[in-house]
Symmetry: C2
């Protein structure tokens, strides 16, 4: 079944999104449905040489703007590309959704249209590069005010995701805090520590900001406010470090020659820290599969998200998450 | 009046701290009192060639360990180097305190011994490098659970600090959140937004994680939980980026030659992102001056902290903070 792609979302126009779908079809034969303004998308598909590939276009007359309130968008734009993409999944015409548009609206529409796993707060998780194994950070923005119990749910969901997608049978789970000791952290985190310790997760205790990139922990749990700040801080600092380095290099002829010689190493390095390599961020806890991409995503990130989306459907991730959570009925009752 | 230096704190032994005091005395003639185990410190001072400089030693028989609970330490170790250092300030024998030891204990001892500005929650602020002006992040760990009002107090204190120490008459103040719009953020931050908007600060609204390093905002306000995570994440990511870059460079002969040619640029770059350049983190809101250094601080960071400490006393920072806060009596009453 094809992946429904919100072809009107993102900050860089539909061309980038269509291009992502084309590469996914060429490289991995992934079928997709581009949802949005029909004539425009057909023209883009033609312009980018995507005819003849397993890519169709499905009409949606409205577009949710990036700054728009999710509640307003859902109420007023019943024919938005985001809403129509989720409708296609609900109607059994598509397997999953990929969107680089308004992430709040994507989240709200996913929950409303597909529903969530009973008693669970859906969360957005993201893969981050580290010095060793990739890290899954959860939640990166779906829930700004969380109860300790939600942090436990996030830990359970991200562990299943890590186990299934990154082939590690027993991922190490850490709780984001400001010191290793149990006594460190705010009220929310101290209570979450007890819940995580008492669970059957491979919980390794609190981790600090500096531990993120060491790669010793596979899953880090935090609320969506903290997680979103961490995610954007990492992107910003990565850019800033490279920008400062370029400024210093430009100041000297020897350094410029040196940089030229070392360029391949720099390119490999940039690839390692490039978020686009990791594609979209899956929304865990809904009855279905949806991936949220950065608004500035390049075609490569969209391609990777479309491929991941298909993979997550094939491994039946949503069902595995529901099974894992239902083993802990106490969690669901407490919410 | 000399600066009281907790010479037993930190993860790297007393030698580093004594060395910091020696360089501060040599470079800027700053007087200091090394507080701690007398014989040991005198031997270190001799070993490092610090005799004849305006550095004295004051005995304290106990040491607060890095992982020790601040409350326990204060109750059981009345003769710790941290406590004795603050006693010297209280008795008028020293102007201020610098410690690289247990930061929770330093904070608690400062509040208990010197007192805090009435109605105010003291906070730790830190200077961070950016692509433009330095940034003051407040709070980075003193208050893990804050009310919106405390975030306003932090904004007022950090603005005074920025104005006085970084010579900017009207620093731009941002509130750390997860989107620029007023509607973004958790409950605490949304309420703090209203308080900051209604204040006479140069409040520019919400800022996101990625804005930290751009340098367009001078002060960023957040609670100590979020701030501490941001600070440690930045340190960790800076190290990780350099480490990944080194790994890539080592893989190729051309890149190694290139790196050698570009080395001076790299060194300038490392200096720019080196936290040691900025010395200690001032504790704002107490009746006095105290600077908290990273446990892993090199001698240079301690030297810079000792010099800053003297400067903050000379410009009467504590009095200026109290004056600024007392103009807003409503803030103090509400707490």
């Amino acid at each position: 079944m094809p992946v429904a792609v919100d072809a009107m979302g993102g900050d860089r126009g539909s061309g980038i999104i269509v291009e992502g779908a084309i590469i996914a079809a060429r490289e991995r034969g992934v079928e997709s449905i581009l949802v949005g303004k029909e004539d425009h998308l057909r023209a883009e598909l033609r312009r980018l040489g995507g005819e003849g590939l397993p890519i169709s276009v499905y009409p949606a007359s409205q577009v949710v703007e990036m700054g728009e309130s999710p509640a307003d968008a859902m109420r007023r734009k019943k024919d938005s590309s985001i809403q129509v993409a989720f409708n296609l999944v609900k109607e059994g015409k598509a397997s999953s959704v990929v969107s680089a548009g308004n992430s709040g609206a994507t989240l709200a529409t996913a929950m409303f249209t597909l529903g969530r796993i009973k008693g669970v707060r859906p969360a957005i998780c993201t893969l981050m590069p580290t010095l060793k194994d990739p890290l899954v950070l959860i939640d990166v923005g779906a829930n700004v005010d969380c109860k300790p119990l939600h942090l436990l749910q996030f830990g359970i969901m991200a562990s299943v995701y890590y186990r299934e997608c990154l082939k590690n049978p027993n991922p190490r789970v850490g709780l984001m805090s400001i010191g290793e000791e149990h006594s460190k952290g705010n009220q929310q985190v101290k209570k979450a520590y007890d819940l995580l310790s008492g669970s059957d997760l491979n919980f390794v205790g609190n981790v600090e900001g500096r531990d993120l990139f060491r790669g010793d922990v596979h899953v880090i749990v935090c609320d969506g406010f903290v997680g979103n700040i961490c995610l954007k801080l990492s992107e910003g600092l990565g850019e800033a470090v490279l920008s400062m380095l370029r400024t210093e290099i430009k100041g000297s002829i020897m350094a410029t020659i040196g940089y030229t010689l070392a360029k391949t190493a720099f390119k490999r390095f940039q690839k390692r820290v490039d978020y686009a390599e990791y594609g979209g961020a899956p929304l865990l806890g809904i009855n279905g599969v949806a991936l949220i991409c950065h608004g500035m995503s390049p075609a490569k990130a969209l391609k990777n998200a479309i491929i991941s989306s298909k993979d997550l459907v094939e491994i039946k991730l949503a069902k595995k998450l529901a099974d894992s959570l239902s083993k802990r009925q106490d969690l669901l009752r407490l919410v």
